[in-house]
């Protein structure tokens, strides 16, 4: 059975265990119809020109876990940022793991979407925010919505600063065979509130896993949200990440995406600015090799005046790896005094590595500052010579220069322990031994 057919028929099985009278169920049913009409995207869709899902869709994925899997903390500790105290929401094969999690309702809510979707006390928030900014005409988002059941739920009330970061981790054990995961998360940060979130998808054993995730993030007036995505998965794990951000006036949302692994990764990152003096930052470092594929597809909707957006994506591609960067900036005719900057710099380390980079600017206002730049290059030969005259062998010197090229993206990482961790990951990835003990 084709995956599309399988999804459609599985929906009935899902309905067995859900409350059909809930308004969320109407959303699910409508979304399923959208998915049924649109189907999976193909390379004929402009937005998917350089990324093909065809091969991945041929796998015979399980849609629901057949059994409950358990994992021991010692086996997965390294995937947590364990150096610091944090809230944790952990899922194993799509099922919440109370043992590995550390949730809270003290001051803020860090818990499960399944609880939020069903319990009366969350009704108001769910009605106001759930599936409000996720694209209703996008097939993969629609597919996720129709099966939306579990994921992380974060609610930070007005003027509250979350006292520690939140880690959201999705493990896939391989015990379900080839597996399709569709986590759905909702993050609501009220006026003047602040939160830091680290998100990770991690496969633990050999099996084909495809994750189609949707996260909606709302930042109310003057809110501050730092969101970090760590993508360093096994080479048989693929991820389609759909993240939708809506911001109100004076808010500040930063999304950093570190793509160092996986088989195929597609990051759909959409920002909508619904107020003035909003700052939106999107940064990314991609370091891949072999036959890995990472596609960043960003969209910033500037629909109000006096806002800013900053995009800085660095890519380093080795072997036969493929990178895609498609950055769209839309500036509405009323969005005067918009400052929108976009930068995408790439280094191809091998002849067979590929990068497709495409900035798209649609500007309908006349008093704006918008810039975009993309570069594709090799390493600076003079710099390489300089390092080699200091006795550093060519391979290591190349690693050091590549590290230097990517490194400045880390400056804006606001969690020091995370910055150190990513720094080490980059160094290891590039074969640089910088020794952080000095």
């Amino acid at each position: 059975m084709e995956l599309k057919e399988k999804m459609l028929s599985s929906f009935m099985a899902l309905e067995q265990e859900l409350d059909l009278s809930s308004p969320v169920h109407d959303i699910r049913s409508t979304s399923l119809k959208t998915f049924e009409t649109l189907g999976f995207p193909t390379k004929k869709d402009e937005a998917w020109k350089y990324t093909s899902l065809a091969k991945l869709l041929k796998n015979d994925y399980s849609i629901f876990p057949k059994k409950e899997s358990s994992i021991e903390l010692k086996d997965v500790k390294k995937y947590f940022l364990y150096e610091i105290d944090s809230y944790k929401v952990v899922f194993i094969d799509g099922i919440y793991s109370p043992f590995l999690s550390d949730t809270t309702h003290d001051g803020i809510d860090v818990c499960l979407l399944s609880a939020a979707l069903t319990k009366p006390k969350y009704k108001e928030v769910i009605e106001k925010y759930f599936h409000k900014i996720a694209d209703k005409e996008e097939s993969l988002t629609a597919l996720n919505t129709s099966f939306a059941k579990e994921g992380a739920y974060v609610y930070v009330p007005k003027s509250v600063v979350a006292e520690k970061p939140i880690q959201i981790i999705h493990f896939s054990t391989g015990e379900q065979g080839d597996f399709l995961l569709q986590p759905r998360s909702l993050v609501v940060v009220e006026e003047n509130a602040q939160v830091q979130i680290i998100e990770r998808h991690q496969s633990l054993a050999a099996h084909e896993v495809l994750t189609n995730a949707v996260t909606e993030i709302f930042a109310a007036k003057s809110a501050l949200v730092d969101y970090y995505k760590i993508q360093n998965d096994r080479d048989d794990a693929s991820l389609i990440d759909n993240t939708y951000v809506a911001q109100e006036g004076d808010s500040n949302v930063n999304v950093h995406t570190f793509s160092f692994g996986g088989k195929l990764t597609r990051n759909n990152l959409n920002f909508t600015q619904n107020g003035e003096h909003i700052d939106s930052t999107m940064k990314g470092i991609t370091i891949i090799g072999e036959q890995q594929h990472v596609d960043h597809y960003t969209l910033v909707n500037h629909v109000q005046p006096n806002c800013e957006s900053h995009q800085d994506y660095k890519g380093i591609y080795a072997d036969k790896s493929v990178g895609v960067f498609n950055g769209k900036i839309y500036v509405d005719k009323i969005a005067q005094k918009t400052n929108a900057f976009q930068q995408n710099n790439n280094i191809l380390l091998d002849d067979l590595a590929t990068i497709n980079t495409k900035p798209q600017l649609e500007i309908f206002a006349d008093d704006v500052k918008c810039s975009h730049g993309c570069t594709i290059g090799q390493l600076d030969e003079d710099a390489l010579f300089y390092l080699r005259t200091r006795g550093i062998p060519k391979r290591e010197a190349k690693g050091l220069l590549t590290y230097a090229f990517a490194n400045n993206v880390l400056e804006s990482v606001a969690i020091p322990a995370l910055k150190t961790r990513i720094n080490k990951l980059i160094a290891t990835k590039l074969g640089v031994n910088l020794g952080h003990d000095l």
Binding site: A383, R388, T389
Partner: protein
């Protein structure tokens, strides 16, 4: 130590060095002077082993070994150090981490273990103090946003840490004010010994007041056209390079 015989070198098919002969022995300080475009920097770059420069004729040997087949890093492992006229900026790599990487690369080439962190720190502190380098400077990204003087001082700091047999200092005095020049020159003088050698490449005589050369060579149009002692440098300063050009005409 360094023996250069009838060295011809080209870059992009253009011949820059047209038959250089030079002998540098342990314990000696040589100054190579010359007008702009005479081939001074090319000579230092060729000795250090830049791949874009092709040796078309002649030879360079170091401690009796022909350098032709050796890469830049292998030459560094043998004990050749080049202080750059324009050091390269490397964001994200601190001065300390860079020097640590370089020292351990040299040690690895010699079959030694990494230097223990404690010894490394001690050595870094000593050498930094000698060159009056602030400890804050050591945690900055290599050459990024450094002033001209800071870059040069950092080059000499690397020289002090790496302790090469042969140090080639390419226009080390440019960009330095007189105080910084004295500190840098003092550093080089302290590092001098009977076992190592220094080649100073400079346009001006100024540096030679502080690092006194045993021999002065004038490079012009890809050849050494005159050699002498430090008095030659004074003569050049007084008469200018036109004097050499006229003499040759």
């Amino acid at each position: 130590m360094l023996t250069i015989k009838d060295l011809h070198a080209s870059v992009e098919e253009k011949e820059i060095l047209k038959g250089i002969n030079l002998q540098v022995n342990p314990g000696e300080v040589h100054a190579i002077m010359g007008p702009n475009g005479s081939g001074k920097s090319t000579l230092s770059t060729v000795i250090a082993g830049h791949e874009d420069y092709e040796v078309t004729k002649g030879s360079i040997s170091f401690d009796g070994e022909d350098l032709e087949e050796l890469d830049a890093e292998q030459r560094a492992h043998k004990g050749i150090f080049l202080s750059f006229q324009y050091p390269v900026e490397i964001p994200g790599v601190t001065v300390t981490n860079f020097i640590k990487t370089a020292i351990n690369a040299l040690r690895k080439a010699k079959g030694l273990e990494d230097m223990p962190a404690k010894d490394m720190l001690k050595s870094i502190r000593e050498k930094a103090a000698m060159l009056e380098i602030d400890s804050k400077f050591l945690s900055r990204s290599l050459n990024e946003g450094f002033s001209g003087g800071e870059k040069k001082r950092n080059e000499i700091f690397q020289l002090a840490m790496l302790e090469p047999k042969l140090a080639i200092l390419d226009e080390t005095d440019s960009g330095l004010d007189i105080d910084a020049l004295k500190i840098v020159a003092d550093g080089v003088n302290k590092l001098k010994s009977k076992d190592n050698a220094v080649v100073l490449i400079t346009h001006y005589q100024r540096l030679l007041d502080y690092i006194v050369p045993d021999f002065v060579h004038v490079l012009y149009n890809g050849r050494i056209v005159k050699s002498g002692t430090k008095e030659l440098a004074h003569e050049l300063e007084a008469k200018g390079y036109d004097w050499i050009k006229q003499e040759l005409a």
